[in-house]
Amino acid sequence: MNNWKRHIPEGSRDILFEDCNNKIKIIDLLRKLNIDAGYLEVLSPTLEFYDVFQGDDVSIEQEKMYKLFDNAGRILVLRPDMTMPIARITATKLRDSTFPLRICYSGNIFRINENWNGKVSEMTQSGIEIIGSESPKADAEVIITAIQALIAIGVQKFELEIGQAEFFKGLIEDIELTEVEMEKLRGLVESKNFGTLREFIQEKEERLGIKNVEALKKLPELFGGIEILAKARMLTQNERALSAINTIEKIYQRIESVGLGEYISIDLGMVQHIDYYTGITFRGYSSEVGTTIISGGRYDNLISKFGASMPAVGFAIDVDNILSVLEKQGNSNEKENEKVIIHYEDSLVGSVYQFATSIRAKGITCELSLFEEKEKALIYAEQKKINKMICILEDEKIEIIDIKNKNSFKTSTEEFIRSLGEL
């Protein structure tokens, strides 16, 4: 019989020590930024009903969700997304709160991947949602918050590209295509399949009419700097599409006047989750990794699926991808705390904890020796790369041993603490 007790499932990971510290530091930093900006923090359950993520235009495929049954035979899933549970909470528990509502969260989501493709099945996301505001002000705030967060974390080279779901929806408004054909068209635009898209449109030219043909053909190319908007305006007269461009422009102007315009690019061919998003969409890339590090957008129809109609916009940062960016940039090795270990005779335990607390208060990592013999404690300290060992002698006297060069001197606890303060 196979025994897996010494293994972990494909796609999962143990995160140890420094990696673990770095990850939690990022989560804490993001939490602080969001909470300081007035976002209210929520925790939602890891297990949710399958139905929360199920619906006509919801984009999470059932084969990507980990499913199990509760004791009443109902289907549960390990949450594959953070936004839908927040939509559920908003439409139920928070429907009478003061809007606009600012919410932030951090937590793990779960997705089933094919084996052996190097993807993880448990990912940490940290994100925000602004619920109850339709204004481009809210869109801009979300994007500005995202950029500021990436800068604060220390991501050096990144770009946030903005799309607008309404632009594509406008272009296909008067077009008569079957559902299958429409999905094919969307797929060709999304994958920037220029050639095949051109052929597909030429084949159907008669049915498409001439109105938006040029714009559709050019759609995959409509990405780049802000000048793309002017280009796009020339291509269509469709009001919905034009107003989509106007929203992007308004949002861009706000970001620009905050001085963050350099991080923004435009991609009108971003039509990935077009049923889910109803306005702006955005994705962030770094030059260090091949995947998105952040994604988000406006989803005005989602909350109504849970019984209360409210506009909303938000983003989620993929904390694990951010960590690989920082690692590749090579700036994750911050200055480490100084480390000391205290070795003491059992009879002196009474004062040791108090002493350790006062050392820790100076920002020094301090652990207590679990050894009986001083020599063993020294070997341990050397292997653990601890800087100093403090041996407690009688009468408040201590001996400080520098682990590297084995130099030592005697002093008193009081004096030692005082010397730390001077550093």
Binding site: N117, K157, E159, E161, S191, K192, N193, G195, T196, G290
Partner: protein
Amino acid sequence: MKAIRIALTKGRLEKYAISMFEGIGIDCTELKNKGRKLILKDEKNNIEFVLVKSTDVLTYVEHGAADIGIVGKDTLMEQNKEFYEVVDLKVGKCMFAVAALPSFKSYDGYNRKKIATKYPAVAKEYFKKNNEDVEIIKLDGSVELAPILGLSDAIVDLVETGDTLKENGLIIIEKICDISARMIVNRASMKMKKENISILIQKVQKYVDENEVTSL
């Protein structure tokens, strides 16, 4: 500026890719005399080539370890991965088809048909679309053998000239779709190295358009 890294499919497509990249002014000297080297460079244009198996092209490009890939549409269809599929190179043309012995009948009673293939995802998707309930058996080579030895009722495979089928007494029952080589681009690379990659795409598209006209 980091180099643009291109993953080429080893073998048949490699030759065409080299002549195409030479055609648009990239120095392929190292690529042609590769010896045991794994990364082959054109220092002047700041381009690096790697040669890998077709399915690995997708893996390298999806993870961004390579920015661009040259690979057959058959491989793209079999693997559900994320990337931009920017140019149809119009070479390496062939098709996916259902083939069987002449005695095969599509609608023959209620028996569940067995389909042998190297491309289970492609076969599954095709029969799902046609609302046909079939059993798919994955093989790794010489799929033509399966119906002859009675392992399966039919096969789904790449058909180039049809000679292999004919020699083994098989006929094409239905064409599934056309296949040709594609140029694919990692999503982040497309944005972060936009200028260089856009120019490359335009040059390749132009090369493809011109060479298609002359071959007519």
